[in-house]
Protein backbone atom coordinates (compact mmCIF):
# COMPACT_ATOMS: atom_id res chain seq x y z
CA UNK A 1 0.00 0.00 0.00
CA UNK A 2 1.19 3.51 -0.71
CA UNK A 3 0.17 6.98 0.42
CA UNK A 4 -1.58 8.69 -2.51
CA UNK A 5 -3.19 12.08 -3.17
CA UNK A 6 -6.64 10.54 -2.59
CA UNK A 7 -5.60 9.40 0.87
CA UNK A 8 -4.05 12.80 1.69
CA UNK A 9 -7.29 14.51 0.65
CA UNK A 10 -9.31 12.12 2.81
CA UNK A 11 -7.17 13.11 5.83
CA UNK A 12 -7.71 16.82 5.11
CA UNK A 13 -11.44 16.15 4.99
CA UNK A 14 -11.41 14.26 8.30
CA UNK A 15 -8.80 16.26 10.23
CA UNK A 16 -8.82 19.80 8.87
CA UNK A 17 -12.49 19.88 7.92
CA UNK A 18 -12.11 20.90 4.29
CA UNK A 19 -14.97 19.53 2.18
CA UNK A 20 -14.09 16.72 -0.22
CA UNK A 21 -13.78 18.95 -3.27
CA UNK A 22 -11.66 21.53 -1.41
CA UNK A 23 -9.44 18.79 -0.03
CA UNK A 24 -8.83 17.27 -3.46
CA UNK A 25 -8.13 20.70 -5.00
CA UNK A 26 -5.81 21.57 -2.14
CA UNK A 27 -3.66 18.47 -2.58
CA UNK A 28 -3.40 19.12 -6.33
CA UNK A 29 -2.49 22.77 -5.70
CA UNK A 30 0.09 21.76 -3.08
CA UNK A 31 2.15 19.65 -5.48
CA UNK A 32 1.61 22.14 -8.30
CA UNK A 33 3.01 25.03 -6.24
CA UNK A 34 6.08 22.95 -5.37
CA UNK A 35 6.54 21.94 -9.03
CA UNK A 36 6.24 25.58 -10.15
CA UNK A 37 8.91 26.68 -7.68
CA UNK A 38 11.29 23.97 -8.89
CA UNK A 39 10.47 24.85 -12.50
CA UNK A 40 11.53 28.43 -11.75
CA UNK A 41 14.81 27.05 -10.44
CA UNK A 42 13.91 27.69 -6.81
CA UNK A 43 14.90 25.25 -4.06
CA UNK A 44 11.99 24.11 -1.85
CA UNK A 45 12.70 23.68 1.87
CA UNK A 46 10.06 21.96 3.98
CA UNK A 47 11.39 22.04 7.52
CA UNK A 48 10.83 18.78 9.36
CA UNK A 49 10.65 16.91 6.05
CA UNK A 50 13.47 17.83 3.69
CA UNK A 51 14.73 19.96 0.82
CA UNK A 52 14.11 19.62 -2.88
CA UNK A 53 17.27 20.86 -4.58
CA UNK A 54 18.09 21.42 -8.24
CA UNK A 55 21.29 20.14 -9.79
CA UNK A 56 22.80 20.77 -13.17
CA UNK A 57 24.16 17.69 -14.89
CA UNK A 58 26.67 18.01 -17.70
CA UNK A 59 26.33 16.08 -20.90
CA UNK A 60 27.69 12.52 -20.56
CA UNK A 61 28.05 9.54 -22.85
CA UNK A 62 25.19 7.06 -22.81
CA UNK A 63 24.07 4.00 -24.69
CA UNK A 64 20.78 2.72 -26.05
CA UNK A 65 20.42 -0.43 -23.95
CA UNK A 66 18.51 -2.23 -26.73
CA UNK A 67 20.79 -1.54 -29.67
CA UNK A 68 24.06 -0.82 -27.86
CA UNK A 69 24.33 2.35 -29.93
CA UNK A 70 26.21 5.24 -28.27
CA UNK A 71 24.10 8.38 -27.74
CA UNK A 72 25.15 11.34 -25.62
CA UNK A 73 22.85 12.11 -22.65
CA UNK A 74 22.28 15.85 -22.94
CA UNK A 75 23.03 18.35 -20.17
CA UNK A 76 20.01 18.68 -17.91
CA UNK A 77 18.59 20.04 -14.69
CA UNK A 78 17.31 17.47 -12.20
CA UNK A 79 15.52 17.53 -8.84
CA UNK A 80 17.11 15.81 -5.86
CA UNK A 81 15.60 15.32 -2.42
CA UNK A 82 17.65 15.68 0.75
CA UNK A 83 15.72 14.41 3.76
CA UNK A 84 15.88 16.61 6.85
CA UNK A 85 17.38 15.45 10.15
CA UNK A 86 13.96 14.91 11.71
CA UNK A 87 12.73 12.69 8.87
CA UNK A 88 16.01 10.75 8.77
CA UNK A 89 15.74 9.95 12.47
CA UNK A 90 12.11 8.86 12.13
CA UNK A 91 12.88 6.59 9.18
CA UNK A 92 16.17 5.09 10.47
CA UNK A 93 14.38 3.10 13.09
CA UNK A 94 12.04 1.41 10.63
CA UNK A 95 12.83 -2.28 11.01
CA UNK A 96 10.65 -3.74 8.26
CA UNK A 97 11.51 -5.25 4.90
CA UNK A 98 14.96 -4.48 3.50
CA UNK A 99 14.92 -3.04 0.00
Amino acid sequence: MALTKAEMAEHLFLEVGLNKREAKEFVDAYFEVVREALERGEQVKLSGFGNFDLRLKNQRPGRNPKTGEEIPISARRVVTFRPGQKLKVRVEGYAGSRE
Binding site: L18, V27, Y30, R35, E39, F81, V91, Y94
Partner: protein, 100 residues
Protein backbone atom coordinates in the same frame (compact mmCIF):
# COMPACT_ATOMS: atom_id res chain seq x y z
CA UNK B 1 10.65 28.48 -1.12
CA UNK B 2 10.15 27.67 2.55
CA UNK B 3 7.18 26.04 4.27
CA UNK B 4 5.74 29.45 5.20
CA UNK B 5 6.16 30.71 1.63
CA UNK B 6 4.37 27.57 0.42
CA UNK B 7 1.54 28.32 2.85
CA UNK B 8 1.33 31.92 1.56
CA UNK B 9 1.33 30.78 -2.08
CA UNK B 10 -1.45 28.26 -1.42
CA UNK B 11 -3.51 30.79 0.55
CA UNK B 12 -3.31 33.22 -2.40
CA UNK B 13 -4.40 30.44 -4.72
CA UNK B 14 -7.16 28.82 -2.67
CA UNK B 15 -8.83 32.09 -1.64
CA UNK B 16 -11.98 30.35 -0.41
CA UNK B 17 -9.98 28.70 2.41
CA UNK B 18 -9.22 30.42 5.70
CA UNK B 19 -5.49 31.09 6.14
CA UNK B 20 -5.43 28.96 9.28
CA UNK B 21 -6.89 26.02 7.38
CA UNK B 22 -4.22 26.33 4.69
CA UNK B 23 -1.57 26.31 7.42
CA UNK B 24 -3.10 23.22 9.02
CA UNK B 25 -3.51 21.48 5.68
CA UNK B 26 0.15 22.05 4.68
CA UNK B 27 1.33 20.74 8.03
CA UNK B 28 -1.03 17.77 7.74
CA UNK B 29 0.28 16.80 4.29
CA UNK B 30 3.90 16.99 5.52
CA UNK B 31 3.08 14.97 8.63
CA UNK B 32 1.21 12.34 6.60
CA UNK B 33 4.18 11.97 4.29
CA UNK B 34 6.67 11.70 7.18
CA UNK B 35 4.41 9.25 8.99
CA UNK B 36 4.05 7.04 5.91
CA UNK B 37 7.84 6.86 5.42
CA UNK B 38 8.46 6.27 9.13
CA UNK B 39 6.23 3.20 8.80
CA UNK B 40 7.91 1.93 5.66
CA UNK B 41 5.04 2.97 3.42
CA UNK B 42 5.75 4.37 -0.05
CA UNK B 43 4.30 7.67 -1.29
CA UNK B 44 3.13 7.92 -4.90
CA UNK B 45 2.06 11.19 -6.48
CA UNK B 46 1.54 11.00 -10.23
CA UNK B 47 3.33 13.80 -12.07
CA UNK B 48 5.38 14.72 -9.00
CA UNK B 49 7.25 11.62 -7.93
CA UNK B 50 7.46 8.78 -5.47
CA UNK B 51 9.18 8.34 -2.12
CA UNK B 52 10.37 5.00 -0.82
CA UNK B 53 12.85 3.70 1.73
CA UNK B 54 16.24 2.36 0.74
CA UNK B 55 18.12 0.04 3.06
CA UNK B 56 21.72 0.78 4.04
CA UNK B 57 23.47 -2.34 5.38
CA UNK B 58 25.47 -2.26 8.63
CA UNK B 59 29.06 -1.05 8.27
CA UNK B 60 32.14 -0.19 10.29
CA UNK B 61 32.49 3.52 10.80
CA UNK B 62 35.01 5.61 12.70
CA UNK B 63 34.74 8.12 15.45
CA UNK B 64 36.15 11.16 13.63
CA UNK B 65 37.65 12.57 16.87
CA UNK B 66 39.43 9.50 18.22
CA UNK B 67 39.80 7.45 15.03
CA UNK B 68 38.31 4.52 16.91
CA UNK B 69 36.25 2.06 14.82
CA UNK B 70 32.51 1.91 15.61
CA UNK B 71 29.98 -0.62 14.37
CA UNK B 72 27.10 1.19 12.62
CA UNK B 73 23.84 -0.75 12.38
CA UNK B 74 21.84 -1.07 9.16
CA UNK B 75 19.25 1.61 8.58
CA UNK B 76 16.66 2.87 6.14
CA UNK B 77 16.93 6.21 4.33
CA UNK B 78 14.21 8.07 2.41
CA UNK B 79 14.61 8.17 -1.35
CA UNK B 80 12.76 10.40 -3.84
CA UNK B 81 12.32 9.57 -7.51
CA UNK B 82 10.96 12.52 -9.51
CA UNK B 83 7.99 11.74 -11.77
CA UNK B 84 7.95 12.25 -15.52
CA UNK B 85 6.08 15.57 -15.52
CA UNK B 86 8.33 17.08 -12.83
CA UNK B 87 11.48 15.88 -14.62
CA UNK B 88 10.32 17.33 -17.91
CA UNK B 89 9.14 20.65 -16.53
CA UNK B 90 12.27 21.26 -14.48
CA UNK B 91 14.47 20.50 -17.45
CA UNK B 92 12.40 22.36 -20.08
CA UNK B 93 12.41 25.55 -18.08
CA UNK B 94 16.20 25.32 -18.13
CA UNK B 95 16.20 25.41 -21.94
CA UNK B 96 13.84 28.38 -22.10
CA UNK B 97 15.11 30.57 -19.27
CA UNK B 98 18.72 29.89 -18.31
CA UNK B 99 20.07 28.74 -21.66
CA UNK B 100 19.45 31.50 -24.19
Amino acid sequence: MTKSELIDALARRQTHLAFGDVELAVKSVIEQMSHALAHGERIEVRGFGSFALHYRPPRMGRNPKTGEPVALPGKHVPHFKPGKELRERVNQSLDSTDNP
